[in-house]
């Protein structure tokens, strides 16, 4: 199973997990990204590139499935307006063994951060600003190139 979805509606992590579990293999890894509630952000708005986003995510998932021999993989990313505590992204991978599941899950979220066209806009009270890309994200994505 390969599932790539960009949606405005809240993410249901239990349903996403169940879909991975249905693959029947022995290892599942998941990453959930959450709107942080610890630095005064009142709302987070996510813009994306319709069509281009799905194409980028499908490419990443395809690479991960080929590289780690995954039985199933899912990326579900929310867009639009969110609040602190809301789920932004669900990444899940299923493989016969834990190393493949864990590594491929880390790979997908690292690469998503630099290779998928999403843009975050944070509001703190009356002040809104576009979030700047971070150098640490580029470093995290680059580590997968050599191994």
């Amino acid at each position: 199973m390969i599932r790539v979805l960009v949606r405005h509606e809240p993410i249901d992590p239990a349903a996403e997990f169940a879909a991975l579990q249905a693959s029947g293999v022995g290892g599942i890894a998941t990453f959930l990204g959450v709107v942080r509630a610890d630095d005064g952000v009142t709302t987070l708005e996510l813009e994306h590139y319709p069509g281009g986003t799905e194409a980028a995510l499908r490419r990443l998932v395809g690479e991960a499935v080929a590289r780690w021999g995954l039985a199933a993989a899912a990326i579900v990313h929310r867009v639009g307006l969110m609040g602190p505590g809301d789920l932004v992204v669900f990444v899940g991978t299923a493989a016969a063994h834990r190393a493949a599941a864990l590594e491929s899950c880390a790979y997908l979220i690292d690469r998503l951060k630099t290779d998928a066209p999403f843009w975050k806009r944070e509001t703190r009270g009356a002040e809104a600003r576009w979030v700047e890309a971070r150098e640490t994200d580029s470093t995290a994505a680059a580590r997968w190139q050599d191994s």
Binding site: H48, G52, V88, A116, W119, W130
Partner: protein
């Protein structure tokens, strides 16, 4: 053939629209050439494209460097570094 140009995030805001469809001159070789040409269209375009180091692009939905050949695309998107996840 007309090309769909798409703008996102603060590039979209500076230009004042999410996209436009334009007939491109034949002498644009790279993505950077296209940005140079677009920058002349309005003050908003010029402002959006002033800092090249802060721009990224996708040609027909594939991320490319600004020095990449433009080819004969259907769709070119220009945007800031991405911040999803």
């Amino acid at each position: 053939m007309p090309v769909d140009l798409l703008y996102f995030s603060w590039v979209r805001e500076a230009i004042g629209m999410g996209g436009e469809t334009l007939e491109l001159p034949g002498d644009l070789v790279t993505v950077s050439d296209l940005i140079d040409w677009l920058a002349m269209r309005s003050e908003g375009h010029a402002r959006a494209f002033a800092e090249r180091a802060r721009l990224r692009a996708a040609v027909d939905q594939v991320f490319v460097g600004l020095d990449a050949p433009l080819g004969r695309p259907h769709e070119v998107a220009i945007f800031p570094p991405v911040t999803g996840g």
